[in-house]
Every structure is written in structure tokens, then in C-alpha cells.
């Protein structure tokens, strides 16, 4: 199918909307748009960060997921208590594939689930005592943990427990940070507010802890912010930065530690990958400590090259020279990857629906392989995300915010992309429709996809999925035309 015109795309949106009742149609209409690169401000064409309508199938998560799952969870040497009933933590446990080094259960706790397992009596009589007891038990069983965070699930806010008081008392007894996080699932419209709440908790309880202690700094200290080390992403990023001659003093929060977070205010530059989930703390550090932050993109050689040069521009000539060397070193390797896979992938069309930074950041990587992204959308993006997206997407492509199950399916049926990139909940629907699919949250159990190393894996995975012979075998023999 050739590219659609503006009118065709607009007509498609209208057609999909037709099945909704009047009121729902009006509301959903605002969240769907035809991309127009001339628009400066996304809010003129698309509405985002609004409450999902009851009755539609949204793909969003809750504030607890944003705080525990995304921001706090990967900090490996802290214990994150899922405070409330057992399900929220258990069903999301280790699902994000944040890799880390350490001995699980001894000095690292990333894939473990700690919960206060609320029962009826805790709801009726309050759970503060249980929480205090839990913290004491943790200290006894896992003495090497560096701190505790209390991630509130829905009931905590509803019954009005005073987790702050418990935390303060426990922090004194343990002489370790104990951080209460008010990220109850019902707050906000999506996981996005959870990121914000988590950032604020870090700001209030962690960031200033080492302001007065000595730190041997170098002029080349940077941090990686908003990289969750999914399948090893942050490691791939870190090695490149180190090759440039920079010193990475903290990883937020993939394979990160409490000490790294506390030392972050000593950095010279914060490198921000996932803008959505960690812009809050970056802004705060810029104001309080005067550390500039820079958004970068480590997907695909073109974007990596641009980002590396932009990063180098903050530093002196040695770094700049090193950077050119790094770029020159990897160029032939990347060219080999492109030469190998581009002929197999060229001209293929992709539809994405993810969260955070990926709906716009991965576009460059696909383009490096000669592919085209014809539709994209955010689960929980805000206006500023769409502002940044409009320029990356081609004219007359589809934008969909907080897409519903129905809309996504209909769009895919009509646009007929060669590949869909989204999450686990969408995977099997599209695979059964015979459309190649990659999970773009967890990298489909692969990765890393960031940085130069990641691109080679990314290209291989896309080829492996798209050109897999299984897609032609989906029609059973008795249904095939004779």
C-alpha cells in the first residue's frame, strides 16, 4: 500500500470513530490526529494526558506502576516495599527486565518482591504497625540493603495511613534512608504522575543527602538519567560515553545505586534519555545545583552521532577530538549492519504505540534501516512529548494518544503496516492477525537496543521478526484457496 494522503488519513480516523456514541466520539476525536510538520504546538492538533474514558480498553498503567515499576524499582541496593495488597507488586515483578549486577537477595534486590500483603484487618485497623514490623524484619534478613522505599498502593491513601511517620522513625532506628512514596494507583490519569511523584520523593528524601560530604570530582563527570537498563541499555550507553573520555558517576536508575543518586548533584552535566519520566528531577538539579541537562537519543547511528557531538559540545577539545574518533571507529561497523539488513527491510512500514520516549526516539533507528514509521502514539505522553514528535514524523502519518484497543486494531487493519511495535497486551492480537510484532517495552526479551552495540541487535531483531517464514503459514491449508 502506498503512503496515505492527509484526506485519507483523516477519513480513516472518522471511520474508526463512527462506532462510538456521540459523547465518546467527541472526546476521542481530540486524541487522534494527522501529523502536520508545520504545526509548532502539538496542543493545536492533539490532546494528551487526559483521563481515559470508562468503557474503552486503555493500555495505561497506574501511578504506582510509574513509581515502583519505572523510577524506583531498578535502584538495586534499596528494598522497595509494595505497601498494600500482594497483587500490585507480584504481578508486575521483574517484568521490565532492568538488568543489574549484584547478588540478588544479598546486596541487590531488583527482581525480588517485598510486600506488606494487606489483609482485611489491615484495611480496617490500619497497616502502620505492620509496616514498622516489616521494616525491622527486612533489616534483620537483608542487612546489606542501603535503604528502603515504601511504594504506596491504592488502599494506603484510602485508609489514611501515616507512612511518613513510620518512615521517619524507622530511618532513625536503622540509620538508613527510608523513603515514603505517595504513589497510590488512583492518583493522576496514568503512570505519568507516578514518575512525577517518584521524582519529587527523590528530590525530598535522597538528592541532598551528600551535599556536604567531599567528592573527588573531575571536569568530565556526567550522569545517565532516564535509562532503565532494559536488556542492558544503560551499559551499552555507558561504554560509549566512557570511550569519549567522560566519567559516568551515576545511572538513573537502571543498575543504579542509592549512593549514585546521592552523588548526582556533583555532576557537570546530566544526560537525559527518557525525558518523560525524569525531566522533573533534571529541572530541579538545574535550578538548585546549576547542572545543565541535555536530552539525547541513542537509537540508531544517525541520532547517536548527532547526540555524541551535542554532548561533546559541553566539554573541551580533547573530548571533542575523542568523540570524532569514536564516531569514526563505529561508522564502518554500523555501515556493515546497515548493508546487511537494509536490503531486507527497506521500504517496510512500522506502527508504534509505546510510552515514555520511544514513540519518537526509535524513529531514527528505523529510518537508518530504510524503514518508515507511519503511525505512532504515547500511552501517557504530554503536550511537550508531542511537540517533540511532530518534527520526527512524516507528514500525513497517524498520531494517536492513549489509543484504545479498538482504534489500534482498526488502524492496523487499514494502514496494513509490515511491523507493529507495542507491548505484551497488544502482541498476541496482532500476531494472530498475521502481522509481525515486536514488543518495544521489554525489547521482546532481547536487547540492548541503545547505543552502537544496541543498534546491531535492533537491526537483527527487526529482520528476524519481519522476515520470519511463519507469517506466510498462518492460514491453515483447508482455508487456502485451491
Amino acid at each position: 500500500m502506498t503512503a496515505m494522503t492527509r484526506e485519507e488519513t483523516q477519513a480513516l480516523i472518522q471511520e474508526v470513530l463512527e462506532v462510538y456514541p456521540e459523547k465518546a466520539r467527541k472526546d476521542r476525536e481530540k486524541h487522534l490526529a494527522v501529523n502536520d510538520q508545520s504545526v509548532e504546538q502539538s496542543k493545536k492538533c492533539i490532546t494528551s494526558n487526559r483521563k481515559s474514558l470508562p468503557g474503552v480498553m486503555t493500555i495505561r498503567g497506574c501511578a504506582y506502576a510509574g513509581s515502583k515499576g519505572v523510577v524506583w524499582g531498578p535502584i538495586k541496593d534499596m528494598i522497595h516495599i509494595s505497601h498494600g495488597p500482594v497483587g500490585c507488586g507480584q504481578y508486575s515483578r521483574a517484568g521490565r527486565r532492568n538488568y543489574y549486577v549484584g547478588t540478588t537477595g544479598v546486596n541487590a534486590f531488583g527482581t525480588m518482591n517485598f510486600t506488606s500483603d494487606f489483609q482485611e484487618k489491615d484495611i480496617v485497623f490500619g497497616g502502620d504497625k505492620k509496616l514498622a514490623k516489616l521494616i525491622t524484619e527486612i533489616e534483620g534478613l537483608f542487612p546489606l540493603h542501603k535503604g528502603i522505599s515504601i511504594q504506596s498502593e491504592c488502599p494506603i491513601g484510602l485508609i489514611g495511613d501515616d507512612i511518613e511517620a513510620v518512615s521517619k522513625k524507622a530511618a532513625k532506628e536503622l540509620n538508613k534512608p527510608v523513603v515514603p512514596v505517595r504513589c497510590e494507583g488512583f492518583r493522576g490519569v496514568s503512570q505519568s504522575l507516578g514518575h512525577h511523584i517518584a521524582n519529587d520523593a527523590i528530590r525530598d528524601w535522597v538528592l541532598g543527602n551528600r551535599d556536604t560530604s567531599a567528592f573527588e570530582s573531575t571536569p568530565y563527570d556526567v550522569t545517565i538519567i532516564g535509562d532503565y537498563n532494559i536488556g542492558g541499555d544503560a551499559w551499552a550507553t555507558r561504554t560509549i560515553l566512557e570511550e569519549m573520555g567522560l566519567r559516568v558517576i551515576a545511572q538513573w536508575s537502571g543498575d543504579g545505586t542509592l549512593a549514585e543518586m546521592e552523588n548526582t548533584p556533583k555532576a557537570k552535566l546530566n544526560l537525559l534519555h527518557c525525558y518523560r519520566s525524569m525531566n522533573y528531577i533534571s529541572r530541579h538539579m538545574e535550578e538548585k545545583y546549576g547542572i545543565p541537562y541535555m536530552e539525547y537519543n541513542f537509537f540508531g547511528p544517525t541520532k547517536i552521532e548527532n547526540s555524541l557531538r551535542e554532548i561533546a559540545a559541553f566539554f573541551d577539545d580533547t573530548i571533542k577530538a575523542n568523540t570524532e574518533k569514536v564516531i569514526a571507529k563505529y561508522k564502518p561497523m554500523m555501515q556493515a549492519v546497515i548493508d546487511k539488513y537494509k536490503p531486507r527491510l527497506e521500504g517496510k512500514r512500522v506502527m508504534l504505540y509505546v510510552g515514555g520516549l520511544r514513540p519518537r526516539h526509535v524513529i531514527g533507528a528505523y529510518e537508518d534501516l530504510g524503514m518508515e514509521v507511519v503511525g505512532t502514539g504515547y500511552e501517557f505522553g504530554h503536550n511537550d512529548d508531542y511537540d517533540r514528535t511532530i518534527k520526527e514524523m512524516g507528514n500525513a502519518t497517524l498520531l494517536y494518544d492513549d489509543v484504545t484497543g479498538l482504534e489500534f486494531e482498526e488502524f492496523v487493519k487499514r494502514v496494513k503496516p509490515d511491523l507493529v511495535g507495542s507491548g505484551i497486551k497488544e502482541k498476541f492480537i496482532f500476531q494472530k492477525m498475521g502481522i509481525p510484532f515486536r514488543q518495544m517495552h521489554s525489547w521482546d526479551y532481547s536487547g540492548p537496543y541503545h547505543s552502537y552495540d544496541g543498534f546491531a541487535i535492533f537491526a537483527r531483531d527487526m529482520d528476524m521478526t519481519l522476515n520470519n517464514p511463519c507469517w506466510s503459514q498462518l492460514t491453515p491449508p483447508w482455508k487456502k484457496a485451491a
Binding site: Q41, N49, H196, R283, E286, E287, N383
Partner: protein
């Protein structure tokens, strides 16, 4: 009254950020913009208007300040 943050954008202009609502926007005009007197009415690219009590310009940006909403865009 709301807490807002004023930042520099990449083009050297001012940028507006309202943490409470996670609202990022460009600033089209600021009533007073001299070192001695800074603030006053600020007009956002998205159409809203806010008011900052005129004060000496901050030594460094970003800068958090209380502002009054005069006219919101939405």
C-alpha cells in the same frame, strides 16, 4: 497562585513550566525584562497569561517563582 519555573529555551528565549500540571510552554512576551525590574505579565505561546510580582531579575535560570493565573489557555 501557583509555583512556576522560568527557564531558558534552546533559542535563548524564556520558557514556562508549571510543575503542578506538568505544563511546558514558550513565553511570547514578558512585561518587564531588565536586571532591576523583571516579571509582570507574561504571555504564553499557548494563549495563557500569568502575572509575576515585578522583582529584580534572578541571577540564574531556571528560577522558581509564585505566579498568578490571569487567563488560562484551556
Amino acid at each position: 497562585m501557583a509555583n512556576i519555573m522560568i527557564q531558558r529555551d534552546s533559542k535563548g528565549g524564556y520558557q514556562f513550566y508549571l510543575p503542578k500540571r506538568d505544563l511546558e510552554d514558550g513565553i511570547d512576551s514578558m512585561e518587564f525584562d531588565t536586571p532591576e525590574k523583571w516579571g509582570g505579565e507574561i504571555k504564553l505561546s499557548g494563549g495563557g497569561t500569568y502575572y509575576i510580582e515585578p522583582q529584580p531579575a534572578p541571577a540564574r535560570l531556571p528560577f522558581s517563582v509564585r505566579a498568578k493565573r490571569i487567563d488560562a489557555a484551556e
